[in-house]
């Protein structure tokens, strides 16, 4: 361990964002790029997403998750980028030293630039504090997807799904295909958190009941799930007494939100945003730690893999330039979310840079609304656009020309 291995760019995670980031870095001129993937093959969560709907933005056609991964992996191979699978980064320091463990050895790597692309994890039953017993038969939707799609395992016979995240919706259809009854999808909010097209194609087309403003207030069953008690919730999301109803089932799937997996980022001292759960980044997708970049679901939860890849390319290009020593300096203006905006990315912009892509999400469904980006001190309008409808499930992208010297605020009004 005396002669520490050195790399120009190390990408942590080989999913849709990480693979694209490696390509971006290589194309920006970084020579020595390494992808570290903890699973045994590249592709990340794409490998278990056997449904189609991927690639529409990147490849102009819809393909399955594994096919999408395969195309990115082919490009990575063509570029001669080194990728290690079955290798996990256990630690990352603020001076860009990584501790990596794999069957071939435990070692330290020093990088000139690091790209965080670790993805996200699913919220659990415990995090949303569902009371009741703790029987077998409770799975997060993603774990169920792995067991069903990659391991051919029948996880139950009668399922209830809590939450309307995209993976839950996709799994409702998948289980129905396999003859496993889906007795209902229950969502605490008055709107679904998954994409509209998934609600249509995965639930409505199969007559699977969806109940909004409804949650599970108790899980029953000693050894295996025997039933769940559902109840309507009021506007404050509190269960309404008297509205309880017991739904017999042997399996409960949870699709109640995704959390960027920033444990390594925290170790490295990267500043995180409480709004996104991901890093605070500038327009190059660099975090608060110089040389560390972030992209994909570890930065913000994407609803489409293509967008995670797009963000990966951008982070990769920036990291590649950083590794070559080409990087802009300068103070940064701050971008703030205003009324009806849940968050906006990036949070920091270097004044005077070229056009910048902004991502934002709204807090609730909005109709006939107008999105405005304004200067905080000058009140000057930098961007304005009308939308027929905006949903919290849709990640929006706009392009602005950044100001020279002031903070910005983005808002949305009906």
């Amino acid at each position: 361990m005396e002669d520490m291995e050195t790399r120009d760019v190390v990408v942590i995670g080989g999913g849709p964002a990480g693979l694209a980031a490696a390509l971006g870095a290589k194309r920006a001129g970084a020579d020595n790029v390494l992808i570290i993937e903890r699973e045994r093959r590249l592709g990340g969560i794409l490998n278990q997403c056997i449904h189609d709907g991927f690639g529409l933005f990147l490849y102009n056609e819809t393909i399955t998750g594994p096919e999408y991964a395969e195309r990115l992996v082919e490009d990575v191979d063509k570029e001669g980028i080194r990728a290690e699978t079955g290798a996990m980064v256990l630690d990352l320091t603020s001076d860009l030293v990584l501790r990596v463990n794999s069957r071939s050895g435990y070692r330290l790597i020093r990088a000139k630039s690091v790209i965080l692309a670790m993805g996200c994890r699913e919220r659990t039953r415990e995090m949303i504090e569902i009371p009741g017993t703790r029987p077998a038969g409770i799975f997060t939707a993603g774990a169920a997807q792995n067991l069903v799609n990659l391991q051919n395992i029948r996880i139950g016979n009668e399922t209830v799904i809590l939450g309307s995240g995209d993976i839950g919706l996709i799994m409702a259809r998948r289980l129905t295909f396999e003859g496993i009854a889906v007795k209902g999808v229950f969502e605490i909010m008055p709107w679904t958190s998954g994409l509209e097209r998934n609600v249509r194609q995965c639930l409505m087309d199969f007559w699977i009941p969806l109940e909004l403003s409804t949650t599970i207030v108790e899980i029953k069953g000693r050894d295996r799930v025997e039933s769940v008690v559902v109840a309507a919730v009021d506007r404050g999301l509190k269960p309404i007494a008297g509205s309880e109803r017991e739904v017999p089932c042997d399996t409960l799937l949870l699709s109640v939100g995704l959390i960027p997996e920033n444990e390594l980022s925290k170790r490295a001292g990267v500043e995180l945003s409480p709004l996104t759960g991901g890093a605070v980044v500038d327009e190059t997708l660099m975090t608060s730690v110089p040389g560390i970049f972030s992209c994909g679901n570890v930065l913000q939860i994407h609803d489409v893999a293509d967008f995670a890849s797009h963000e990966g390319f951008r982070a990769g290009e920036s990291a590649g330039r950083f590794a070559r020593g080409e990087f802009p300096a300068g103070t940064k203006a701050r971008l703030w979310p205003g009324p009806n905006i849940r968050y906006v990315l990036p949070q920091l912009i270097r004044p005077g840079t070229a056009d910048v892509d902004l991502n934002f999400r709204v807090t609730r469904p909005l109709r006939a609304c107008r999105v405005t980006v304004r200067g905080k001190s000058s009140d000057k309008v930098y961007f304005r656009k009308k939308y027929g409808r905006l949903l919290p499930s849709g990640l929006q992208k706009i392009r602005i020309r950044p100001p020279l010297d002031e903070d910005l605020e983005i808002d949305c009004h009906e």
Partner: protein, 500 residues
């Protein structure tokens, strides 16, 4: 990768109906401590556990506190075994290489009015021999624990923390290495007394012994009844807990307790750090009907946060990753007038040779080593116990990969590539530790047994990522898909393959 052979279930006990000197019923911390203590002597010992793993009952779901001995009436068996157990347990945990820490503990009075209760506790503790108790003021409280707030506190410097289930399993492992037999999934269903031998019927066969130690925890009254002893009734009192993430944004050094509420059958809702850095909130105390009802309830979850938040406001916005409940085996009838019942550790008058251990609630974890010695003394009073040569009081040290320094990790992986294959990303558990846990000598092979031995699934993803991988490894280790359970019995995870 080297393929392991088919699963060879742990050492099976001798032929059914072979004669043992002592059968211990119940693989909780008390039963395992008794089995280990007895294994010093030239005795044939069998431990029967009804569940699929040790520590599946009371011993897996408590605060994991090594008590100082001031919360129980002076002169009681609870107080005597607590103080005696305290003197032994740190050394024992070190010998067994079970992670533990002498943290100290603060019992906090939020107002001057509560100070007299602290004085009472201190006086009780002093009389019982609880060492070095001290009443401290505001600034001293802050010195001891910067996160604590209070007017006065009772400081017990010798209180500590330990994982109760790791300790229990280690005691059993030590007993087994000293030739005690341990059999899981073996509930005692019948007891016959014939020709001076107790014959215990289980689904795994009948086992006979000259002596029986009934340490069946919540079910010790029912096991006693099988032997014709109807003097006892155990009343289950549930205690709910919440668990924070390991990294809640602050570090709690030591357990913080409120002044015990007058009407609370427990010690009051307290906050306790674990060895891994999580914080436990709880427990509540509620008498319930069903000894197996370990559900969590919404109202108590809210109350835990409220009351713990009084001791430490930071906890109100802490990230919680788990909830669990444990059940106290109380001898106090919730409908009765009596407020206190002592531990029962006695040989039955009606059934000589049958030793009952009942009502081992708090401070049972701390008392267990002392209770085990009492049992040996009782047996020693009846027959000559000969010390065995070659008794090994400890276990080899086996630190987790996650706890090693860089050089040690590199050496481990170089020696065994399975140490380089990470299975649990939250707790950094490599395949080697998963495989070793699945090959445990007791044959405990459930998801929960694996979790207790490796910490897989105890982290912030609660098994979301590692479960699919563990399911693969379990099958590679010889467990059929439909034999994978959460905790044995009917807790199956799966219903076969989707497509054959």
């Amino acid at each position: 990768m080297e393929k392991p052979g088919p699963w060879n279930p742990g050492e099976s006990p001798r032929q059914p109906a072979a004669e043992y000197d002592v059968i211990v019923v119940g693989g909780g911390v008390v039963g395992c401590a008794v089995a280990r203590e007895l294994s010093r002597y030239d005795l044939e010992i069998l431990l029967l556990e009804k569940e699929s793993d040790l520590a599946e009952g009371i011993s897996k779901a408590n605060s994991g506190v090594i008590h100082g001995g001031f919360n129980v009436p002076p002169g009681s068996l609870k107080a005597r075994t607590n103080v005696a157990g305290l003197r032994k347990i740190y050394g024992l945990a070190s010998e067994l290489h079970v992670p533990h820490r002498k943290t100290g503990k603060l019992v906090i009075a939020l107002t001057d009015d509560e100070r007299p209760r602290l004085e009472e506790l201190k006086a009780d503790g002093d009389r019982s021999g609880s060492p070095d108790l001290e009443i401290v003021g505001e600034s001293e409280i802050r010195n001891i624990e910067p996160l604590a707030r209070g007017r006065w506190a009772l400081y017990s410097p010798h209180t500590g923390i330990i994982s109760p289930y790791e300790f229990t399993i280690a005691l059993a492992e030590c007993a087994r290495r000293n030739a005690a037999r341990v059999l899981l999934d073996a509930p005692v269903l019948s007891v016959e007394l014939r020709a001076g031998l107790f014959r215990l019927g289980t689904p795994k066969g009948a086992f006979a012994a000259r002596r029986v130690v009934n340490s069946a925890g919540l079910f010790a009254d029912e096991v006693a009844r099988l032997a014709g002893i109807s003097d006892f009734r155990i009343y289950p009192y549930r205690g709910e807990y919440l668990v924070t993430d390991k990294d809640p944004g602050f570090k709690l050094r030591l357990p913080l307790y409120p002044v015990p509420p007058k009407d609370d059958p427990g010690l009051g809702i307290h906050i306790t750090p674990t060895m891994e850095g999580n914080i436990l909130l709880g427990p509540s105390a509620e008498d319930i009907r069903d000894k197996t009802d370990i559900a969590s309830t919404r109202s108590v979850m809210e109350r835990l946060k409220d009351e713990a938040g009084r001791l430490m406001p930071e906890l109100r916005r802490a990230p919680f990753i788990h909830a669990y409940s444990g059940i106290r085996p109380k001898l106090v009838d919730p409908q009765g007038r009596e407020k206190f019942r002592d531990f029962v550790v006695e040989e039955s008058g009606a059934r000589p040779g049958w030793i009952n251990i009942l009502g081992i609630e708090s401070p049972g974890l701390t008392s267990a080593p002392a209770i085990a010695e009492m049992v040996v003394e009782m047996i020693g009073a009846k027959e000559d116990l000969r010390l065995k040569t070659g008794f090994d009081p400890g276990l080899p040290e086996n630190p987790r990969f996650a706890a090693l320094a860089d050089g040690e990790r590199a050496a481990k992986v170089a020696g065994n590539p399975d140490c380089g294959e990470m299975v649990c990303r939250c707790e950094h558990v490599p395949r080697a530790e998963v495989a070793a846990a699945l090959r445990n000598s007791f044959g405990a092979r459930t998801m929960d047994a694996l979790k207790r031995r490796t910490r897989c699934g105890m982290g912030r993803c609660q098994g979301g990522f590692c479960t699919p991988r563990i399911v693969e490894i379990m099958q590679e280790e010889g467990i059929p898909l439909d034999g994978i359970t959460k905790r044995g019995g009917g807790s199956r995870l799966f219903y076969g393959r989707i497509k054959s």
